[in-house]
Structure formats: structure tokens, C-alpha cells
């Protein structure tokens, strides 16, 4: 409770300072605009801004869903063919040596300027944390539980359903929380490189044209998207993992 009051106070102080310096200093106004100017800008351009937000949201959600389904699929394959894990994991780790952001132009060339390239980028950014956390959650399952399943003759699907998924769920959710913010970053970074619409495109144009109102409103909407994403996963986690 005490912390919450402090956070609210801090936010009020920052907003007040931003408003004060944005109103009194030309430099600050050019770089950061001010809360009142951003609010005015949003009021005048809310349709375009919300459309851009919606597009980025669709890209991020689709990317996160594809990455989740794909990483679950690979893990399920690894459960059926355990030696596959020894093969897949080094590839996963090696793939992380590549700074994934540099692949954004490649996806634009490959999939075009539309949603596909952004979804691919978001999915690529999300896949690794979900997969690795799932693998870690699986490896943390007690040996006794594996042996118990062996003694009871549980088939692989039963083990996946009754043991692997439920017990690895806390780790899976940790991976999903990391990926939730990465999905938004992935979509925005892909939009920087070329997009018809989206918050990333807005941010890119705002920097080029020196439009602080557009930049700050897009930045705040991007932050809001990240918070909503993270909050949704956090809410789901609290709902489904009540046994810890």
C-alpha cells in the first residue's frame, strides 16, 4: 500500500515536471512535447492513432500465439522423441547469438510490407523464451515423478497432459511474461523497417519529421500495449496456477 502511494506520487511529480518544462522550455517541448499537447494531439488524431495501435496489437498477439503454439509443438515432439531435445536445444541457443532485430529487413523482403513480416518478427522474438522456460520447467520436475509415471505405465500423452504441462506451467508462464513484452518490441521494430500502418511506423516518422506530439503519443500507446500484454499473462497465471 505504501509503495502504491509512492508510485502514484512519483507519477504525479514526473507528469507535473514534464508539463512545467514542456511549457517553459522550447528545447523540452521540441524533444518531449508536454502532457497537455500530447492530450490535444491524441484528441485530434485519435482515430489514426488507435488504428495504428490496433495494427501493432494484432501483430504482437499473432506473433505471441504463433510462437507459443510452435514452441509447445516442438516440446511435445521432444517428449515423444527425447533425443530430439539434445539436437534442438543447441540450435535454439545458437540462434540467439544472432541479434534478431537485424532480421527485420529480411522479413520485409521475404514477406512484404504487410502484417506477415511483423508477425514473423514478433514470433521469432517470442519463441526462444517460451521454449527455453518450458524446457527448464520440464527439467525441474522431480525424478520421483518421472519414475512414478514409469511405474504406472503412463503413456507419453498422459504424461504430457497430467504432469509435464501442469508442472512446467510456472516456468511456461515466466517465459510468456518475457515474451509478452518482446512481442510488442518485435512488432514495432519490424514496423520501423517499413509498414503501412502501426506504432513503429509512427515512431519512425515522428523521429524523421521531428514531431514530438506524435512520438510521445505513440510511445505512450506502445507502453500501454506492453503493460496490457504483461498484465493479461500475469492475470492468467494467477488464475491457473493456484497450487504454488
Amino acid at each position: 500500500m505504501k509503495n502504491k502511494i509512492l508510485y502514484i506520487l512519483l507519477s504525479v511529480v514526473l507528469l507535473a515536471a514534464w508539463q512545467y518544462f514542456g511549457s517553459t522550455s522550447q528545447t523540452v517541448r521540441l524533444l518531449l512535447s508536454s502532457p497537455s499537447l500530447v492530450t490535444d494531439y491524441f484528441g485530434q488524431n485519435h482515430t489514426a492513432l488507435l488504428q495504428a495501435t490496433q495494427t501493432t496489437l494484432i501483430e504482437a498477439v499473432a506473433g505471441l500465439l504463433i510462437a507459443t503454439v510452435f514452441s509447445f509443438g516442438v516440446m511435445i515432439l521432444c517428449f515423444y522423441f527425447p533425443k530430439l531435445m539434445d539436437f534442438v536445444l543447441p540450435i535454439m541457443i545458437t540462434s540467439q547469438v544472432i541479434p534478431l532485430i537485424v532480421l527485420a529487413p529480411f522479413f520485409i523482403i521475404l514477406l512484404g510490407i504487410g502484417l506477415g513480416s511483423k508477425i514473423a518478427m514478433a514470433a521469432l522474438m517470442c519463441f526462444f523464451p517460451i521454449f527455453v522456460n518450458f524446457a527448464q520447467g520440464y527439467k525441474a520436475i522431480s525424478q520421483n515423478i518421472h519414475e512414478l509415471m514409469h511405474i504406472y505405465n503412463a503413456d507419453t500423452w498422459t504424461r504430457i497432459k497430467q504432469v509435464y504441462f501442469p508442472l512446467a506451467m510456472p516456468s511456461i508462464m515466466a517465459g510468456l511474461k518475457i515474451s509478452a513484452t518482446l512481442a510488442v518490441i518485435g512488432a514495432i521494430v519490424a514496423e520501423f523497417n517499413g509498414a503501412e500502418i502501426g506504432l513503429g511506423k509512427n515512431l519512425f516518422l515522428a523521429a524523421k519529421r521531428l514531431e514530438p506530439d506524435l512520438m510521445m503519443s505513440s510511445l505512450l500507446l506502445s507502453t500501454l500495449l506492453g503493460v496490457v500484454f504483461f498484465g493479461t499473462i500475469y492475470f492468467i497465471e494467477k488464475k491457473i496456477i493456484n497450487w504454488q
Binding site: 505405465n153 504432469v163 508442472l167 497450487w243
Partner: protein, 269 residues
């Protein structure tokens, strides 16, 4: 004989032998207790019987083991085997009821009536919808015990299942175990380092030495029922002290001391 083990030798990854020339025969419906100092291979023997261990690559297993004329792996696949670990090993996301019916669900014949009967047998009716995190250590052990009996096992292997409990809880669970065992005519092998527990539960006791061999074996002859044994622990222990408890304790000490003798010899050499 229900279980026949002849000249069993076992080593992990072809290293130092863990089990050394073990020969055991056990009739159906009997309880065998295996006692010995820590690290003597008691749990390894149990895990071999359960069909878990030979699976690992590089392990060396020699000798013959048959359970009801089948190999351990064949017997495991019949589904007539249950195992209870030192830790309760419950599914943390499942309730008491779900944990107990898990083996039945795996077999595809979940039976609510049977699950409820087992919950009642271990006195957890009020807790059937509780999660493991809401239970005490003793309650968790009772859930694990009920789960072990859910499939009507012919053979129940217990790996120091009550070691974390106090004597009051142990006594209750000995009676519950014996009641369930009598109802189902289950053959039980219990690994323990508690001689008193072995004498309370078993028809036969085997003492293992530090080389993974059998130091001595005793057939326990007593007219006391489990209830009488548990309700009159000190009286029962006094009655079996000289004939069983003392020789078993000596055998454990001798088996352990041999390890020290050998270590000394190696050190001097």
C-alpha cells in the same frame, strides 16, 4: 515363490558394485523389510524390482529376478506394481482425490467409489479437495499410501515411506498400511533404516551390509497383530528384543564396520 532373486549383482555404469550376490525368495502376501546402513544399496534393490533401474544405459545387472515368473519389466507392465517413495511425490496441482485416483486414471478406469473408499481408509474425507500445499507431512504420506493401493497392487514397494514422520503418525500409518495390505493380500517390500519399523511391519527382515550383500536374514515369528504391536510398542519390542532386535542391530553395525575395515586397509596399503 512370488518373488525370486538369485545371485543378483548390480553396478552403476560398470563402476563399483552396489549389490553383491543377493538371493531372496518371498511368498505372496508376505512383508519383507530390508534394513541396513545408508548407502548399502537398499533403495537400489527396490528400484531394480520396480523395473526403473535397468533402463539406464551402462548399468550392469547380473543374476536372475522374477516376479510371479515374469521379468521386472514384464511385471511392471502388468500394472500390478505400486511404489511409494520417501517423499510423498504428490502432484502439487492436483487435489487429494485427484492424486489418489491418478493411477486409475492412467489405466483408464477411474472409479469414484473406490477413490472415496481409499480416502476414507486413510481418514482424509474432510480434505479430499485440498491441495498438497495445504496438507501436513503426515497427511501427504497418507495420500501417497492411499494412491499406492488404488490399483489393487499385488506388489507394493515402499522406500523409507515413513522416515519423515513422528512416532504417533508412524503408528497410525502402520495400522492403515496393514489394514489395506490384509484386505488386498498385497506383498510388501519395505526399505527402512528403522529396526523397530521393520519388526513392527515385516514377516521377514533382511540386513544388508556396506558391500551391498546380505549380512543376515530373520524370519519374524510373533503372535501379536499389528494393532497389538502398535498399541503396545514398548511391550512388543521387549518381547522381541533378544531374539530379533539385538541380532539385527548387531548385524547392521557389523555390516557397517566392514566398510570401515576395508577403508582402513586401503588407506594403509
Amino acid at each position: 515363490m512370488f518373488i525370486n532373486i538369485q545371485n543378483l549383482n548390480f553396478a552403476f555404469n560398470k563402476q563399483k558394485p552396489v549389490l553383491n550376490d543377493i538371493t531372496i525368495s518371498l511368498a505372496k502376501g508376505k512383508t519383507l523389510a530390508i534394513v541396513g546402513a545408508s548407502g548399502c544399496g537398499k533403495s537400489t534393490l527396490l528400484r531394480i524390482l520396480s523395473g526403473i533401474l535397468p533402463n539406464a544405459e551402462g548399468n550392469s545387472l547380473q543374476g536372475d529376478i522374477s516376479i510371479y515368473g515374469l521379468t521386472t519389466e514384464q511385471y511392471r507392465q502388468t500394472g500390478k506394481l505400486a511404489f511409494m517413495f520417501q517423499e510423498a511425490t504428490l502432484m502439487p496441482h492436483s487435489t487429494v482425490k485427484q492424486n489418489i485416483e491418478l493411477p486409475l486414471k492412467i489405466k483408464g478406469n477411474a472409479n469414484e467409489q473406490k477413490t472415496n473408499n481409499l480416502i476414507k481408509a486413510v481418514g482424509l474425507e474432510e480434505y479430499s479437495n485440498y491441495l498438497p500445499k495445504q496438507l501436513s507431512g503426515g497427511m501427504k504420506t497418507r495420500v501417497a499410501l492411499a494412491r499406492s493401493f488404488s490399483t489393487n497392487p499385488e506388489l507394493l514397494l515402499l522406500d523409507e515411506p515413513f522416515s519423515a514422520l513422528d512416532i504417533a503418525w508412524k503408528s497410525k500409518l502402520y495400522v492403515e498400511l496393514e489394514k489395506l495390505r490384509e484386505e488386498t493380500n498385497t506383498t510388501v517390500i519395505v526399505v527402512t533404516h528403522d529396526v523397530q519399523e521393520a519388526l513392527l511391519l515385516a514377516d521377514h527382515v533382511i540386513v544388508m551390509n556396506s558391500f551391498g550383500g546380505i549380512e543376515t536374514r530373520k524370519e519374524i515369528k510373533s503372535n501379536y497383530s499389528i494393532m497389538q504391536r502398535v498399541n503396545n510398542i514398548s511391550g512388543y519390542m521387549n518381547s522381541v528384543y533378544e531374539s530379533y532386535m539385538l541380532p539385527i542391530q548387531d548385524a547392521i553395525m557389523n555390516g557397517q564396520n566392514r566398510k570401515n575395515e576395508k577403508q582402513d586397509t586401503i588407506h594403509i596399503a
